[in-house]
């Protein structure tokens, strides 16, 4: 194969790669959020046994490298269970679980940040535990958690680049291919980097707007 120059057509290839990252990011973030919040609920209601399992699982996930988890799911699971795991499936499972672990940690600390008096001030009027969760705990916890959550999501977007290692053709993988073809590493990786940057900035900006809305009245917290 002959080397060829970097062309505008390659930008479309890169954009397609970025599309893969964003799609995977959106899907795994959604699944991760739902699972992480589910785990936090298990903890909030102090479900016996399950609460301990959830804490242990989250510890395991956040204290080991995502790349190792990815290898375990992609190479380890098929070997153990004799099943086929496609790269996209492995990436979805791993990133969802990893996001869930961090969402869980953020949600739990957000719930714990709410003063006990807030809950008591509602309970004394006969408001049920579920109504307290809905009207008192969730809105205040959301205002507390939105900052860390946006930071987490920005990070998880970058983490999607790891899937190129197991053969998913994402932005990083395409960058790699273009690099081999053009032999212009500086140009290729600069463009790849800028594309990630743009996507991350978009996530951060959307998050900031959401944060401003949620924190509109808790900014003072003079209580």
């Amino acid at each position: 194969m002959r080397f060829s120059d970097f062309t505008s057509y390659d930008l479309i290839l890169l954009a397609q790669g970025l599309g893969t990252n964003i799609a995977l990011f959106l899907v795994t973030s959604l699944i991760g959020l739902l699972i992480g919040l589910g785990w936090a609920l298990v903890r909030f209601y102090r479900v016996p046994v399950l609460a301990q399992i959830v804490t242990f699982l989250s510890e395991l996930l956040k204290n080991s490298p995502v790349l190792v988890q990815l290898f375990l799911v992609f190479f380890g699971l098929p070997a153990l269970l004799h099943i086929r795991v496609t790269p996209v499936t492995a990436a979805t499972i791993t990133l969802s679980a990893n996001t869930a672990a961090f969402v869980y940690v953020i949600a739990v600390s957000a719930i714990e940040s709410i003063e006990r008096e807030q809950v008591e001030a509602a309970r004394v009027f006969g408001i049920t535990r579920w109504q307290v969760l809905r009207h008192i705990v969730t809105p205040q916890a959301a205002a507390f958690a939105v900052g860390p959550l946006v930071a987490l999501l920005v990070n998880q977007l970058q983490v999607t680049s790891l899937i190129s290692v197991i053969g998913v053709v994402d932005l990083t993988k395409i960058g790699h291919i273009l690099n081999m073809r053009t032999l212009k590493p500086f140009v290729v990786w600069t463009v790849v980097g800028l594309l990630y940057y743009g996507a991350a900035k978009l996530v951060a900006l959307l998050g900031e707007r959401f944060e401003n809305r949620l924190r509109a009245h808790s900014a003072w917290r003079g209580l």
Binding site: A122, R123, V124, G126, H135, I136, W220
Partner: protein, 244 residues
């Protein structure tokens, strides 16, 4: 009738309430006096079910607060106002007041809001319905706290040192509202350090000392030399609290 019978409450090794008996009839205003750590606030927290009793029984209109099924009914009948207000910071004044009526009493929202606005008007905060707690002064917050409790139309109003976090000017504005409520015949259990005010509005005064209820007398008897003052702890407490 609100009945406290032989209630004992201990936190690990420390006994905070040691066999307390107290009865409050509808329409009565009863003040609880006592030094810090005498168990006044804990007594209120036992009555509204925030603390579990170690022994004894508390009933609010015959609903036992120790029985989970009856606690909800008991709580509907008592309204608590807290020392540090404990308003919900993410809700407007109006939402703070209407949350419990809408969720617990299932009052339709328009009706709940109408009641809330009327209450706000009666405490001089008609124009602050859409403000958030952080935008209010301490005295205003506590007035909202009182409205929040009154919105549940409680049979018994429990007031836990409601002026302790306020400066004298704000204290005066809150006490004025309580005096008005007392005059209207609201049943109140009033934990306080405002002795002069307690003397003005109370039908009875009880004195707690180290978790024991040592005096329970009509107000004029409480301050009489051969009544409450005959108790050395009461005499000591009164002379310390009053600057004259």
């Amino acid at each position: 009738m609100l009945k406290v019978e032989n209630v004992r409450k201990a936190f690990s090794e420390v006994t905070v309430l040691d066999g307390v008996d107290l009865t409050i009839a509808p329409g009565e205003v009863v003040s609880i006096l006592g030094s810090s750590g005498s168990g006044k606030s804990t007594l209120i927290r036992c009555i509204n079910g925030l603390e579990r009793l170690n022994a004894g029984r508390i009933t609010v209109d015959d609903f036992d607060v120790s029985k989970p099924k009856e606690l909800a009914e008991a709580r509907k009948r008592s309204g608590t106002v807290f020392q540090l207000f404990n308003l919900y910071p993410h809700m407007s004044v109006l939402q703070n007041i209407t949350l419990a009526p809408i969720e617990v009493l299932k009052t339709p929202r328009p009706e709940a809001e109408a009641i809330a606005r009327k209450l706000l008007e009666s405490v001089g905060l008609a124009d602050r319905a859409d403000a958030y707690p952080a935008q209010l002064s301490g005295g205003q917050r506590q007035r909202v706290g009182i409205c929040r409790a009154l919105a549940m139309q409680p049979r018994y109003l429990l007031l836990d040192e409601v002026t302790s976090a306020l400066d004298p000017e704000m204290t005066a504005e809150v006490l004025a509202i309580l005096a008005k409520l007392a005059a209207q015949g609201t049943t109140m259990l009033f934990v306080t350090h405002e002795i002069e005010f307690a003397r003005e509005i109370s039908d009875r005064i009880v004195f707690l000392d180290k978790g024991r209820l040592v005096v329970d007398l009509p107000t004029d008897r409480f301050f009489a030399a051969d009544g409450g003052r005959a108790q050395p702890r009461v005499a000591q407490f009164l002379s310390r609290m009053r600057k004259d």
